[in-house]
Symmetry: C2
Subunit: 129 residues, 2 copies
DNA sequence: ACGTTTTGTGAAACACGGCTAACTTTTAGA
DNA sequence: TCTAAAAGTTAGCCGTGTTTCACAAAACGT
């Protein structure tokens, strides 16, 4: 409910980092996203109160609900980044811009677009920078 | 400079409305975008001070600079809406979601994407709802 | 020409999402 | 173990872009 673009970004980064390193701390998220730890702290409080994450003593992890959103965002991220790279956009720019495109579509529209463009599924989060 | 997503939306709507009806007033923009006239008033003040629009007694029009941005946004809008419609998304949803996608890409990336997907140019603003 | 309706503006408030700064708590090294 | 560094939190601020409400100014019908 009421999940904004920035909230989706936080969930996605927790997902990617947890695949990459297991335990995820706020500071990892802050570094990954390039925001301050204060921003992460604030965002985590909101996400927790909405049931997307749970905070341990010194780690954060996704709830089932948060994981679902995060996976979906990551899937879209890979899709758009791959699409842009195939179009000739540099990996760095594609990643930056794909980050925004991934929040624009409903689930239904995204599936239709993917079906039409017929791209193969890409590998998991550990393959990305 | 420093044109945000909302600023681009305002410029685009002025462009579309001017093609459709000639003279554009603040209230037309407000209705088109679904915001209050106070919001339009504020936004127009900013856009005018940045040289994107000029305000007459009771109308708004784009400067050359504003027109360039607006045309570019409209072009992208049509591109993404067409893409989504071809994928099977309803016209209404495609229009809503295309509205967001059009702000995600740099000029360069957009051109590359368009070249790869090889879509034909679409008609002008008067063909849209 | 007058009054009503429509349109535009200004002030104050809010939500959001970021920041810094100061503080607390935890971790970890010597 | 004790102290210093790292991590997390809290409070307060800022910029953006909305809103509502009150008001001003223009347009229009009769």
């Amino acid at each position: 409910m009421a999940l904004r673009e920035s909230g989706e970004d936080y969930l996605e980064s927790i997902y990617v980092l947890s695949e990459r390193q297991g335990i995820v701390r706020s500071i990892d998220v802050a570094e990954y996203l390039g925001v301050t730890k204060a921003s992460v702290s604030k965002a985590m409080a909101t996400l927790e109160s909405n049931g997307y994450v749970e905070m341990g003593k010194r780690d954060v992890h996704l709830t089932e609900c948060g994981l679902e959103v995060a996976r979906q965002m990551w899937e879209r991220h890979c899709f758009f980044v791959g699409l842009l790279e195939d179009a000739g956009v540099s990996a760095e720019v594609a990643s930056q811009e794909g980050c925004h495109m991934e929040h624009c579509l409903s689930e239904e529209s995204f599936e239709k677009l993917r079906a039409m463009l017929g791209r193969e599924d890409v590998a998991g989060p550990t393959t990305e920078a």
